[in-house]
């Protein structure tokens, strides 16, 4: 059965509701409204995301110099050179980023759990305490670590004076300092999404699991943890991406042999003024991150995410 003429109102007979012209007009209008509403966002994306990325791509395939300008010559060597010349720095970035993400997760989850379930009336106070240091510029916080961890500083100085620590022991200028700095800087970005997810968990689920004779640990593992997956997912994404691209921590806390790719990109842009090479490096980093993020979200499963939202 088909509707032959759109102008002919057909009574609601089988399954589908036929559309009256007036209704159709209203629907069209609605659709235009929808498109209209999408325009600002779309334009924003085009202007501030698509256009810069395209510029970056074009630049990465260009040759020339600052004085004479850059010309698109479809030179791909920047990309091959990115990987051949700076493989160790790419690897460092991903190693440090991964390590910082894991440590931040291990530290943040219990803290968020405690605040969400045992924080009581003072939850907001505890959250404020977590966030308080982050009202200070990241640069100053990182430089403070440099001061705290100094070889003869307030921490190691006395220990060394008491011969509780070898004289040449140091944390600064090692990968551990960089990972520590990254973790510290990223903790709120891990803690807050996890806290939000835990906070949303319906407490009756936990009661139900107790009623079903689950131990405390089983409740955490089989009820709370799965329900907080969206928070973990978001936190890990936020932390991993920014920790991998970060270079300030490395500059301040690192030493020889801790170079990260963010640093190389910075100096290619601002010291060498080799914009095409810097653009190529940025794109390689971006694509690598994108692949990791896609694999990560596929493997963690979007259904789990949706599932998390059905309580």
């Amino acid at each position: 059965m088909t509707i032959t003429a759109a102008e002919t109102p057909v009574p609601a007979a089988a399954g589908r509701t036929p559309v009256h012209p007036a209704v159709r007009r209203r629907m069209l209008k609605k659709r235009f409204t929808l498109v209209g509403l999408l325009i600002p966002g779309g334009a924003w994306l085009a202007l501030f995301f698509v256009a810069p990325i395209l510029t970056l791509v074009i630049l990465s395939l260009s040759t020339g110099n600052v004085g004479l300008g850059w010309h698109l010559t479809y030179t791909w060597t920047n990309f091959s050179q990115s990987i051949t010349s700076y493989k160790p720095e790419f690897l460092h970035s991903f190693e440090f980023g991964t390590a910082a993400t894991v440590v931040a997760l291990l530290v943040s989850y219990p803290a968020a759990y405690w605040i969400a379930f045992y924080g009581g009336q003072k939850k907001t106070t505890y959250l404020l305490i977590v966030l308080l240091p982050f009202y200070v510029s990241q640069l100053i916080r990182t430089i403070s670590w440099q001061f705290i961890l100094a070889d003869q500083g307030i921490f190691f100085g006395p220990l060394k004076a008491l011969h509780l620590m070898p004289q040449n022991f140091h944390i600064l200028a090692t990968p551990w300092a960089v990972i520590g700095g990254l973790t510290y800087a990223q903790i709120p970005y891990m803690l807050l999404p996890i806290f939000a997810a835990l906070e949303r968990i319906d407490r009756s689920f936990i009661e139900a699991s107790k009623d079903l004779y689950a131990t405390k640990w089983e409740t955490v593992r089989r009820v709370v943890l799965p329900l907080s997956t969206p928070g973990i997912f978001a936190g890990v994404l936020l932390v991993f991406i920014s920790a991998t691209g970060d270079y300030v921590n490395e500059v301040i806390l690192g030493g020889t042999g801790t170079g990260v790719i963010g640093n190389i990109i910075n100096s290619q842009f601002f010291v060498n003024m080799n914009y095409p090479f810097a653009a190529a490096l940025s794109l390689v980093l971006m694509v690598a991150l994108l692949i990791i993020v896609i694999v990560y979200s596929k493997s963690l499963g979007t259904e789990d995410l949706m599932g998390g939202g059905t309580y």
């Binding site: 004085g67 640069l139 440099q146 042999g257």
Partner: protein
Amino acid sequence: MTDKSESNPLENMDPAIIRGMTMPRMTRRGFLGLAGAGMLGAIAAACGSSSSSSSGTATGGSFSWATAKKAGVLDFANWPLYIDQNTVNGKTVYPTLQQFTKETGIKVNYQEVIQGNSSFFGKIEPELKAGKSTGYDLMVITDGPVLTQLMMYGWLTQLDHSYLPNFAKYAGPNVKNPSYDPGNKYTLAWQSGFTGIGYNPELTGGDITSLASLFDPKFAGKVGMLAAVDTPNLVMIYQGVDPNTSGPSDWKKAAALMQDQKSKGIVRKYYQQDYINALENGDIAISIAYSGDIYQANQSSKGANLKFVVPSEGVFRWTDNMCIPAHSLHPVDAITYMNYVYNPRVAATMAEYIDYMTPVPSSKNYVIQDANASSGSNKAGLLAMADSPLVYPTAADFAHAYYGPSLDPTAYQTWNSIFQPIFQS
């Protein structure tokens, strides 16, 4: 030390430390604070974009000094804390600039927008390339790749020395006709300084005199090197090469030595400006250093006891230069000011504030005059300054002071390809 009447920084000081008086150089470098440079720069640029577009004659294209006219305005881009300043009623004022305005009627729009040669170049480069005014009539750029590029691409205005009688009369021989700008075609020196060795005598267990100490396994893990052009240049000086005339084969030899030093674990880190904190904190015992950094560290509340030394092999020297960007809107005002700062009286006032290597040797007489007119610690400070070889170096001090090479963009790429892998990995 903005106010000498409050502190007496120069009293009872080791002559070696007094030599370390290139303070503003370091201050402004320290001011950058690493990555904050970018942010500060952005803020400064945002605040400082008020280029006054009053009548005058823009340079570039068919510009000629013969038809150029004074506009009464000067847009001056400089580094932070790099000129004499005073605080009057909570407002920062610049005495020599005020005097200049009084004498010439030219209003100076003074902006401390330069935090790094490359980053500043990155900001003005699009305008210069497009043949537009950068919004500045005068800027201070260190000799090096950026200055070389500015000259090469024709992005500076050639100077007409008939406007510069003071320079001809009073400029010291060491800032006239420099290797990077023969005949001072484009630039006049603003101030200069030395890069040598800074160390903590307690940790080194004695005085350091030679660049060889930077490579001494005794200090393994306690040596700081700078991730800057200064480092390869000093290494070449150590190897007996004049960096000014060096080429890629010399660079490779220097790089090989640096690589060796690094793989033996002697280098703790290639520092940015933070090497000074590392020295203060005892993370490193010895480092390549800007003399002024050491001077200021010793003056700070922490009261570090560091020393600066001009190594026996020689020292790396650099000069910050005044230059007029192409398409400047007020070139006559700029060149009038360039002449003004070579007046020995003005140069003395500036030197007294910034304790820097001044390009006008005869300003020394005015410093001594000012010293005699004051008393106590002020007097001692000014007299010590007049005696300091880093403010008033003698010909002998310059005998072993070397400039870096003038790197064009291609050579600079080569330079970077040789040294950056060492700094960065």
